[in-house]
């Protein structure tokens, strides 16, 4: 199974060119491809907040030139109402791309579809994975936790409730830490998801540290459920300082969380089969 240590940093390694098949050597410098190698052709569309006339078309070409399109071909201009004009421009970009400068930041886990998540949990746990979620402290902003947990989901992705192999307990807003710990124990939670939106006076950090300390106190060592926090203002990489297993930031989708859960239980069961 997956024995990779979660802490190993695969990020920021310059390995983009190492991923392609060895049979084909890529050049270091490339340009966009229209219909001939090296032609640099791209297509862009945009709107300018001015009425459509000759000056507007000139403005569009000026923008195209500043974007590095030379020569630029204005192929379409259309008035949208009286105040806006829509443009489509084709042209050759003068910019070059240096593949050696491409930095790839990788997730420590693979993104899985709902089917694969369910199959992996079934295989590894032979029971449902229990997720307990809450907004703790005074935070009443359930937007984040609901986007991840509710079947309605977020960004076109269904929430964790949708996954047949996940059992989701959403405790809602303003849950006090002892209450959350008790619920997690009662439900035999494998993972605890906590959302913190309010960040006044660093409430989110304080609340999270209180929460992780309470879990470490209530559970025997090594038996603490996965502690996951989400919110727009957590500093990425500060997991150890907060005493949690994973931080998710703004724009996280339920699928990412589900994939992480699969990854994390894979690691755990590999370490201590139970």
């Amino acid at each position: 199974m997956n024995n990779r240590d979660t802490s190993s940093k695969t990020a920021s390694s310059k390995k983009a060119s190492a991923q392609v098949s060895p049979a084909k050597i890529l050049p270091h410098i490339i340009r966009p491809y229209g219909d001939t190698t090296g032609d640099g052709m791209v297509q862009v569309s945009f709107t300018l907040p001015i009425p459509h006339d000759k000056r507007a078309e000139g403005a569009a070409l000026q923008l195209a030139a500043k974007m590095g399109l030379a020569p630029a071909l204005l192929v379409h201009a259309k008035a949208m109402g009286t105040d806006f004009t829509f443009f489509i421009v084709y042209g050759s970009v003068s910019h070059l791309v240096d593949l050696r400068d491409v930095v790839v930041i990788e997730r420590e886990f693979a993104m899985l579809g709902a089917k694969d998540v369910n199959a992996a949990i079934k295989k590894r746990l032979r029971r449902k994975l229990v997720v307990v979620g809450a907004c703790i402290g005074n935070d009443a902003h359930t937007v984040g936790i609901d986007a991840i947990l509710n079947i309605k989901g977020f960004a076109g992705e269904k929430g964790l409730e949708y996954y047949s192999e996940l059992r989701v307990v959403n405790c809602g807003a303003q849950v006090q830490v002892p209450e959350l710990v008790a619920r997690a124990r009662a439900e035999k939670a494998d993972a605890v998801l906590v959302s913190q939106v309010v960040t006044q006076k660093d409430r989110h950090i304080h609340n999270t540290m209180t929460m992780s300390a309470a879990f470490r106190e209530a559970y025997p060592a090594g038996k603490v459920p996965l502690l996951i926090v989400g919110g727009p203002r957590f500093e990425q990489g500060s997991e150890d300082a907060l005493g949690v297993d994973r931080i998710f930031g703004k724009g996280t989708t339920p699928g990412e969380v589900a994939s992480y859960l699969v990854h994390a239980i894979g690691v755990n069961t590999a370490q201590s089969p139970s």
Binding site: S45, F46, T47, K78, M80, G81, F84, F86, H141, T142, V143, D146, A147, N150, I151, K152, A155, G156, K158, E161, Y162, S164, N170, G172
Partner: protein, 542 residues
């Protein structure tokens, strides 16, 4: 543009067995009736708050908690809601505890009012005063309906079918207004203001004009008023009545329906099971709130839009096609029971079959025709693809074109305009313009195609439609026979077994359960009394 009316087809496009259709409706009635009984014998905090709103109580304290919440909570704490909120409230007014409801609510919040359950002559006097106090609110709803009819007569309905439905959602009502007006000028007939994420789970209606929301704008009475006024201006300018839509869903469904009636909204999203399945709101709370909301909508001449499209975003659109039909039948039953008429039933369905499977478009046509034929007089709401919009905006634009084509070929009535940037970003101005060009092209090029389009007998489309209908009947049969404990309600049992959208929602769990109250003998609700006795007949929506 198409002027073909679907209400007078030369002959039906699908040869469905009328006996099967009758059976489907009778099963829906059988599944729904016990739920209606449940709704009649319970009330909720939100229903009671809606009644106080009709009686003219509005506004909120300095922390934003509405006075209707304060007053209902105070009455509930002291004497309970089993007899309705209005009897103890108007008894207190009669006893001179306060000159009006606002003062009473303020005093009740401070704990300086005592409520009681009046008896005998005091009881009938309190009930009489309650009825008299709710009448002006109901009269305002009636006047708004008459105003809408007059404005539609003056400005006119859209010239084409389907009506074009566009969404605005900036979070700031003062940004929404110019966007909505621009959308109307670009061709939208119906403007929906998307609500802020999470409003459905708030157990109060925010107050005043709001300028920040998450991915949408809060539904408030003031926001309703501002937007309706702005659309009245643009209706006059365009010579076409622009309809306004919001959401009567979530924990405050009855209050929001009431505010919609008070501020002349024209359509409300109002699904019978959406909140239960997708928001984990308690089933009984939902059905009680639902019935009251729909009674208000019926009275206000509001067209409801149901949410069947949501099933297809969670379940597979081919395998779960029949759940859409079942939900449409249930929505129809609950709506009609609450007094809504066919022209008010914007039953929903969506173009969500994976474009990667063979014959996906033919199956879409079958499903859309099935809905069309089952509900010939309902203004069907046709929802664009979302699940299979990948971020490839070019492919998405083509898919939206096929969605539009299916819509005109099967005579859908309300077309929610699909955006190629679905699941990518909030649509750009240009995305909306392109989307409307797409709709216009299809309407112009193929609007009359419905006249030529007759799927052959026992061909792919007819067979598929019959299959979906028969699966729907099977599912309804399964629901009706789903017996749990003696005396349990089969539909609630089915919901708690996970029959719909794969979600298990037991009747004794979910949000808002603590706001459900069983009515005691003598329960009085002056609003439902007025709604039941003096229902206005007829409508001019079509």
């Amino acid at each position: 543009m198409s002027t073909v009316k679907h209400t007078s087809p030369a002959k039906p496009k699908l040869e469905l067995d009328p006996a099967v259709i009758r059976k489907a409706r009778s099963l829906a009635r059988k599944a729904g009736a016990p739920v209606v009984k449940l709704a009649r014998t319970h009330t909720t905090v939100s229903v009671e708050r809606a009644v106080l709103r009709l009686a003219g109580l509005s506004g909120a304290d300095h922390e934003g908690e509405p006075w209707v919440n304060h007053l209902v909570d105070a009455v509930r704490d002291e004497v309970g809601l089993e007899l309705g909120v209005t009897t103890p409230v108007f008894d207190a007014v009669r006893r001179g505890e306060a000159p009006d409801l606002l003062t009473l609510a303020q005093k009740a919040t401070a704990g300086s009012v005592s409520f009681r359950l009046p008896r005998g002559r005091d009881l009938s006097a309190a009930q009489k005063l309650a009825l008299r106090s709710v009448k002006p609110g109901m009269a305002r709803i009636d006047r708004n309906r008459a105003t809408r009819d007059r404005l539609i007569k003056r400005h006119g309905n859209p010239k084409q079918r389907p009506w074009i439905y566009l969404i605005v959602a900036t979070g700031d009502i003062y940004e929404d207004i110019p966007q909505a007006q621009t959308a109307a000028r670009e061709g939208a007939d119906i403007i929906a203001v998307i609500r802020s994420t999470g409003q459905s789970l708030l157990d109060f209606v925010p107050e005043g004009a709001t300028r920040e929301g998450y991915a949408g704008t809060y539904a408030t009475q003031e926001n309703f008023r501002l937007m309706r006024a702005a659309l009245d201006d643009v209706s006059k300018e365009l010579g076409r009545y622009i309809r306004l839509v919001n959401y009567a869903s979530g924990l405050c469904m009855p209050e929001i329906a009431t505010l919609a009636g008070l501020e002349r909204l024209d359509m409300m999203l109002n699904d019978s099971m959406y909140g239960i399945l997708f928001r984990d709101i308690n089933p009984i709370r939902t059905f009680v709130d639902q019935r009251f909301s729909r009674q208000i909508h019926a009275r206000a001449g509001i067209i409801i839009n149901t949410g069947e499209d949501n099933y297809l975003t969670t379940a597979d659109a081919v395998e779960a096609a029949h759940t859409v039909t079942v939900s449409q039948l249930m929505n129809e039953y609950f709506a009609k029971e609450a007094g809504l008429q066919d022209w008010q039933l914007g039953l929903g369905h969506a173009f969500e079959i994976s474009p990667d499977i063979p014959d996906s478009f033919r199956m879409e046509l079958a499903q859309a025709l099935l809905a069309r034929q089952l509900f010939p007089d309902a203004p069907l709401k046709w929802m664009p693809p979302t699940k299979h919009m990948t971020g490839d905006v070019f492919r998405g634009y083509l898919l939206d074109g096929f969605f539009n084509l299916a819509g005109v070929m099967t005579s859908q009535d309300i077309l929610l305009v699909g955006m190629m940037t679905e699941a990518v970003v909030t649509p750009f101005l240009s995305d909306r313009d392109l989307a409307l060009q797409n709709v216009r092209y299809v309407l112009n090029a193929a609007g009359g195609l419905t006249e030529d389009f007759h799927p052959p007998r026992d061909g792919f489309i007819q067979t598929r439609a019959r299959q979906v209908l028969s699966e729907a009947v099977d599912l309804l049969e399964k629901i009706v026979s789903d017996k749990g404990e003696p005396g349990s309600v089969p539909l609630l049992q089915a919901i708690s077994d996970g029959t719909f959208g794969l979600m298990k929602r037991p009747a004794d769990a979910g949000r808002g359960l603590d706001g459900v109250v069983k009515c005691a003998p003598g329960y009085d609700n002056p609003a439902t009394t007025l709604l039941a006795t003096t229902r206005t007949e007829g409508g001019t929506g079509k």
